[in-house]
C-alpha cells in the first residue's frame, strides 16, 4: 500500500499500516504547553489526580506568551507551571528563552516524532517530518500524563512547488499565496504535504515558515519529507544521530494535488482581518503604517533578521512608524548580536524585544491603538489579534516589513535588495 507522509509516520508509530480515516492511539514523543494553555492543562490533571509526566525529559512547559509577566494574574499562572515542572521533573522554558515552536525545533523534535502541543502553531515541527499538531489543554494534559494520544489519520493535500523564486520573494510569500488560493478553511482537518524541486532546495528556516502556517488553511499538520537539508540542520543543533529519512511513496494518490510555479509569485500581503485575504504587492495601493513588527514563530529566525538588517542597514525607520523586532529565541538573539544585526536595528531606531509571543497574541508589547495599522511577519491578522479589535493587521515577509518600516507604508521590498 502506497502511503502519504502522514500515513507513513503514523504507521511507524502505531506499528500497523494505517490509511486516512483510521483511528489510532499512538505514543507521544514530545508534549508541550505554554503559559496561555498550560495552567488549564495542569488543572485538568489535578482534577484527575494525575499530576505526572510519562516522559519528563520530553514534557516541556513554556513561559513565552506573557514573558516576562506584565501583570499579577499572569505571574500567578506562571507559578502553576513552575510548580508542576518541579513536581513532575518536566522541563521548564523560562521567560527569555523564546517562542515554544522555535525551541522545539532547535532542541527537541526529530523526524518521525509525534508532537502534541497546546498551541495551534505546533505544526511548525512538521518541517522536520514529525507528526506535530496543535490541540487543546485537556488533550495535551492527558498526552503528557499518560504518554499517549489518539488521532484520526488525515487525508492529504499535496502542494508541489517548482521553479525559483524571483528576487524579493520568500517562503512567506509562497505560504500566503497558498492560503489565499485555497482559503482559511481549504485544508480543514487535512494534512498539507509540501514537496517539489523548490521545497527540496529550501533551507530549514524557509520550510518552518510553510509548516508553521499550515493551520492558517485549517490543516492538522504541515509535513515536509526529511532529507539532506534536515540532516544538516539536525547536525547543526547537535542531533544529527536522530536523523531518519521519511518521505511519501512515489505515486501515492492524494485527495487533492496543487501545483505552484514559484517563478510567478510576487511579494504577497494578507489584508485585515483574515489570512486568506491576500493581495500581490502590485495590487496593494497606499497603506500607511503606524507599526511594523518583525518576529514570531513564523519569521523571527536568524535568516529573517539577516534579511531585515540587509535592508535596514544605514537607514532609519519612518518617523511616524514604530519598528519592533523580536528574535524568536535566545539562540537567535545571541546570533543576531554576534553578527551585528541588533546594532543595525537599534541604529535604524527599532525597539528590540525580549524573545517571546506577547506582541503577536495581543498580551503585551506592541498593542495597537484604535484605528492603527500594523504590518507584521506573524501568522495571524484576526480582528483583535494584537490586543485591540479596533486595530488593523497586515502580514508579509520580513523583507517587505523592513522596507515598509523605512517608508512608513507598505512597499515592494525589491528596490532595497
Amino acid at each position: 500500500m502506497k502511503q502519504t507522509l502522514a500515513e507513513k509516520i503514523l504507521s511507524r508509530k502505531s506499528g500497523q499500516g494505517v490509511k486516512a480515516g483510521d483511528i489510532v492511539v499512538v505514543d507521544v514523543d514530545v508534549a508541550m504547553v505554554q503559559d496561555g494553555t498550560g495552567p488549564l492543562a495542569v488543572e485538568q490533571l489535578k482534577k484527575m489526580d494525575k499530576e505526572q509526566a510519562a516522559n519528563p525529559e520530553k514534557t516541556i512547559l513554556f513561559i513565552d506568551h506573557a514573558a516576562p509577566s506584565p501583570r499579577r494574574e499572569l505571574s500567578n499562572a506562571h507559578t502553576i507551571l513552575r510548580d508542576f515542572a518541579k513536581k513532575t521533573g518536566s522541563q521548564l522554558s523560562e521567560a527569555g528563552e523564546g517562542v515554544c515552536h522555535q525551541i522545539l525545533v532547535e532542541s527537541h523534535v526529530n523526524p518521525g516524532d509525534v508532537v502534541i502541543g497546546a498551541d495551534s502553531h505546533t505544526c511548525t515541527s512538521g518541517a522536520l517530518a514529525a507528526f506535530a499538531t496543535g490541540m487543546g489543554s485537556t488533550d495535551v494534559a492527558i498526552g503528557m500524563a499518560s504518554g499517549k494520544t489518539w488521532f484520526r489519520v488525515p487525508e492529504t493535500i499535496r502542494i508541489s512547488v517548482s521553479g525559483d523564486f524571483q528576487k524579493g520573494v520568500y517562503a512567506k510569500d509562497l505560504i500566503l499565496h497558498i492560503i489565499g488560493l485555497i482559503g482559511a478553511d481549504g485544508a480543514t482537518y487535512k494534512a498539507l504535504e509540501f514537496g517539489g524541486a523548490t521545497i527540496d532546495k529550501m533551507s530549514m528556516a524557509d520550510r518552518f515558515v510553510l509548516s508553521n502556517m499550515a493551520v492558517e488553511a485549517g490543516a492538522k499538520v504541515g509535513l515536509i519529507a526529511s532529507d539532506a537539508t534536515t540532516k544538516a540542520y539536525l547536525d547543526s543543533v547537535g542531533r544529527g544521530d536522530k536523523f531518519i529519512e521519511l518521505a511519501p511513496d512515489l505515486g501515492v494518490e492524494y485527495e487533492r494535488a496543487i501545483e505552484i510555479d514559484a517563478l510567478k509569485l510576487e511579494p504577497t500581503i494578507s489584508f485585515p482581518h483574515t489570512v486568506d485575504n491576500t493581495k500581490k504587492i502590485s495590487e496593494v495601493g497606499e497603506v500607511k503604517l503606524d507599526q511594523v513588527f518583525i518576529g514570531t514563530c513564523t519569521n523571527g529566525r536568524i535568516e529573517d533578521l539577516r534579511i531585515a538588517a540587509q535592508i535596514l542597514k544605514g537607514k532609519k525607520r519612518h518617523p511616524d512608524t514604530r519598528l519592533l523586532i523580536c528574535p524568536a529565541s535566545k539562540k537567535v538573539y545571541l546570533e543576531a548580536i554576534k553578527e551585528g544585526l541588533i546594532e543595525i536595528f537599534i541604529e535604524a531606531n527599532a525597539a528590540i524585544m525580549n524573545p517571546g509571543c506577547g506582541a503577536c497574541v495581543g498580551v503585551h508589547q506592541g498593542i495597537l491603538a484604535d484605528g492603527e495599522r500594523c504590518l507584521a511577519t506573524q501568522n495571524r491578522n484576526f480582528k483583535g489579534r494584537m490586543g485591540n479589535p479596533e486595530g488593523f493587521i497586515y502580514l508579509s515577509s520580513p523583507a517587505t516589513a523592513a522596507a515598509s518600516a523605512i517608508e512608513g507604508k507598505i512597499v515592494d521590498p525589491r528596490k532595497y535588495l
Partner: protein, 165 residues
C-alpha cells in the same frame, strides 16, 4: 435533547473573537472570562444569552488558536450547543473534550431568535419557529463516545484510557 433560542453569527468566528488575547490574564479565571465570551463579535452576547440557547455560526467556526478556553466559556455561558456550516479542527475537538456539543448543518435555515430543539445523539435539529427540520451529520463514533461520557477527562477516567470504537 436541548431547547433554546438561536444567536446568529457570521463566517470565520475566530477564537480571538470568542476569547480575546487582550483578556489573556483571565484564563485562570474562567467564570470571569465567560462574561466576555464572543464580546468582539457581539458586545451584548454575554448579557443576552440564556441557559439552553444555541450559538449559530457560518463556515469555519472557531478558527485560530488551540485555546480550549474558547469552547469552555461558550459552555460556561449556558450555551447548549454550537451549530455551524463547518468548524475549525482544533475547536471542534476541544468542544467535544469539554462536553460542548457541536453540530454541522445548513445554518442559513436559522435566523437570530429562532426557537430550536436539538437531539445531539440522533443528529436531529428542529427549527420550531420556522416549522422545519434541518439535516445534520451525527458525530463520528469516537467523538460521540467522549461526549456521552461527559468530556475527555471523564472518558479517560471511566475507561482508564481511550475507548474510541
Amino acid at each position: 435533547m436541548f431547547k433554546g433560542k438561536s444567536h446568529k453569527f457570521g463566517d470565520d468566528i475566530s477564537t480571538d473573537l470568542i476569547a480575546p488575547g487582550r483578556l489573556f490574564h483571565l484564563r485562570t479565571n474562567l467564570p470571569e472570562l465567560a462574561k466576555h465570551v464572543l464580546e468582539d463579535a457581539d458586545s451584548d452576547f454575554a448579557k443576552k444569552v440564556q441557559a439552553g440557547d444555541f450559538v449559530v455560526g457560518g463556515k469555519n467556526f472557531g478558527l485560530g488558536s488551540s485555546r480550549e478556553h474558547a469552547p469552555t466559556i461558550i459552555k460556561l455561558a449556558g450555551v447548549s450547543a454550537v451549530l455551524a456550516k463547518s468548524f475549525a479542527r482544533i475547536f471542534y475537538r476541544n468542544a467535544i473534550n469539554v462536553g460542548l456539543p457541536v453540530l454541522v448543518c445548513d445554518t442559513d435555515q436559522i435566523t437570530a431568535g429562532d426557537e430550536l430543539e436539538v437531539n445531539v445523539g440522533e443528529g436531529i435539529i428542529k427549527n420550531l419557529t420556522k416549522g422545519i427540520n434541518i439535516k445534520t451529520d451525527t458525530l463520528p463514533k469516537a467523538m460521540l463516545n467522549i461526549l456521552e461520557d461527559g468530556g475527555l477527562v471523564a472518558h479517560f477516567q471511566k475507561h482508564d484510557g481511550f475507548k474510541l470504537d
